[in-house]
């Protein structure tokens, strides 16, 4: 298997994982009143996961093979 294929599979896995996190029922767990760092829980959750997703993509895209 080439590096390109391995990398592709990592990206697909990352996408699947992202879809899971941005979907019912995980999303519902955070759709609750209350705040995190002064930001409503749901908003904080979405932005944190989003940021983490981008960071992982950056790591994967810039890593060798």
């Amino acid at each position: 298997m080439t590096n390109f294929e391995t990398k592709g599979q990592h990206f697909v896995a990352l996408c699947m994982f992202g879809m899971l996190l941005f979907n019912y029922p995980i999303l519902a767990l955070f759709n609750v009143p209350g705040t995190l760092f002064g930001v409503p829980v749901l908003y904080a959750y979405v932005f944190i996961v989003w940021g983490a997703l981008i960071a992982s993509m950056a790591y994967l895209a810039e890593s060798r093979g």
Binding site: V12, G18, P33, F37, L42, I54, A58
Partner: protein
Amino acid sequence: MLHSTTIILISFAYLGLLFAIAYYVDQRADAGRPVIASPYIYSLSLAVYATAWTFYGSVGRAASDGVGFLPIYIGPTLMIALWWVVLRKILRISKRNRITSLADFVASRYGKSALLGGLVTVIAVVGILPYISLQLKAVSSSFTILVQYPEIVMPAEVGAAPIREDTALWVALILAAFTIAFGTRHLDAAEHHQGMVAAIAFESVVKLLAFLAVGMFVTFGVYNGFSDVFARAAAEPALRVMLTPLEGVAGGYSNWVWLTILSMMAIMFLPRQFQVAVIENVDEKHLNKAIWLFPLYMLAINVFVLPIAFGGLLRFPDGSVDADTFVLTLPMAEKQELLALLVFIGGLSAATGMVIVETIALSTMVCNDLVMPVLLRLRRLRLNERPDLTGLLLGIRRGAIVLILLLGYLYFKLAGEAYALVSIGLISFAAVAQFGPAILGGIFWKGGTRAGALCGLLAGFAVWLYTLFIPALARSEWLPIGLLEHGPFGIELLRPLQLFGLAGLDQINHAMIWSMIANVGAYVVVSLAASPSADEHRQASLFVDVFRLSGEAGGARFWRGTATVPELYNLLARFLGSAAADSAFAEYASAKGLPWPDQRLVADADLVHYVEVQLAGAIGSASARVMVGSVVKEEALTIDEVREILDEASQVVVYSHRLEQKSHELEAATAELREANERLKELDRLKDEFVSTVTHELRTPLTSIRAFTEILLDDPEVELGQRRNFLGIITKETERLTRLINQVLDLAKIESGKAEWVDSAVDMKEVISDTLAAMDQLFKERSITVEALLPENVSPVTADLDRMIQVMLNLLSNAAKFCDAINGRVEIVLSERDGCLRVDVRDNGRGISPKDQSEIFSKFHQVGGVLTDKPRGSGLGLHISRQIVEHFGGKMWVESDLGRGACFSFLLPTGAATVERVT
């Protein structure tokens, strides 16, 4: 007070700056020094995704359902995670086939079908019209609002302006002129618009900065940071429900999911995204940066959306101000004149960026995939005989740009007022999502056929028209509203917004479900039912296997026929101009190692394919095929022949894979051989060293024997005492010689495996006692105390008795030689443990340094400096002893501290280990 003239002047200054950037970059590119070949510019140009809708509309959407705007950016982020797999493939396919647009891509995939290209173009144009109208609406209403500064009045309350003061129309016309200047300056076979891309990248920076500026102003200037905004919102009962927005809303999660899927499609298949991501891409490697920079851009431009939305809702609680305008009206309400102006420019940059790229992409499609195929088929026009068609092509594109923008304006007038910005944009998203099955299916599934793609697109588009486009017109009272409430002819089941009774869903959600069922269903079912033609089969393989089939000439294998070079040249010159045709032919000729023009250039399959690909860059693949077909006599290939060629190709691939494997194996074998050779060389070196050492060792005693015999021979007068002394030395040296030669022979035997071993049960206790007895005299002569600690009974070991005695003799004579000269003491200990016999021979000499300990068992190693000590052995004894012990499965080592004597030990296995060895 902001005067409208000031705003207009600043707007024009901004557009002028854009044009200057584009002009400069184009000049540089023409001079052969492109500046846009950077992953950062590429990433920024992708941000053309963020339009006026993002700029103004996100806040509007957030003000009504909180996080509901985010799937439009999270979906693309998830899709971009797949870009490594999907977009890389599309890029490769497009580069190899000179794809010029989305429509061209679909047409080319399904057998260069002009019909399919036309259909995609129509869907794209109709589908994108709402989106373009959205931009016009955003610019014109933000202008109308800004002019009222410091009053905040909604555009609807200003009243209809006479047509000559209609900002939206002026915006449309100015943008049309601007786009024409940008995108249709000249024809480029690769459809690269470097100047435009640079300008778009610049616009992306401007809109991001403007939005961040207003976001920071609202969050940190008006309020005290994020927590303050959210805390105040939570204090308002009306707003509290929005903090957990997914609950309560009917189909909240379903909407979220479908919006995500919709946006995933949009980021791939919006014509402008396809244009910047695929057509304008200059280097596949830029993807590595874009994969994370572009999502990061989307994250950044969304961070302040919620604070602005809540800030607006708190500031204008009575609902008098449209939430779509909060970005602009908040700074205005706070009397921030300059910030409001900056926001307007930011919105303008978002809108112009979208309109420019979208209309360029659409005009290319309209020209290449809609108008040209029709014109070329109309024999009355005799286009085939016109010498130069570049002017015509540019004319068509310019006309298309004006037409598209005017249609966008028309849609704005017809339906624009009834919807919020986001809803208008989503209608367009849903339209381009219809391309998803045909394109994604097309690059991963060879079974997708032209008929399948046609049916899928038609079905999906029809459902889209019925469930989204018609309701939009109905809501704007251009169609009877009863159609929505009671369905056509009063058939309730067919109500456009509750098709087949599916109710309780968001309008977009509802449309997506039905259109995707229709689209995917028709695509798959019809594809499976219809068998593909030869053309389709070939294109399917070229697309799906793009990474396996190599070389740009991959398509050339599929052509058989006759043509002439001048005909092909004239064809290219008609569409690209003679200069471009010359350079294209020169490039081709030089690849073949010929000058241009040259008689030897033959119009073979390669050249025909090359010309077709060049032509495809200008007029699209379907038209290019028709044109090339008009000048060459082509023999149509049957589907079986295409299959055969493809099989051949895949066999070649398999074969080359095997070859590769073989060459890998060869490489491995070579490496092994090289290693073996190195080892042999090393052994050879060791052997040479051995021979030279042996000779050296032989020469020393020989020299002294010879010296003394010569003395005795030359001088008969030597005294008797002296003579005896000399003869004694000679005898000793001769013995040394004999011993050395014996040991060398012995070693040679052992190492070559020719030594004879007589295995028998050997009692080590006996061996030690016998050896000690034999050496008794020697020890006494040197007055060395010998102490032997031998147990009563030990198990026998299987070994060669004589060899074991040899080992013991060697160890003991070494001990005798090296122990203390005055108070010499040697200790022998025999013990048995864990199925092994252990023998220790300890002396009290000066010991062996750690460095020598590791060397002492090697051949000819003698401890002691050459200058200070006379060597007192051959240097082979220990080496042979160790070989003997190891031969019987044991091991030998030495432990020593300098000045404290040395202890040589060896282990020999008894019982089981021995038995095993013997059998």
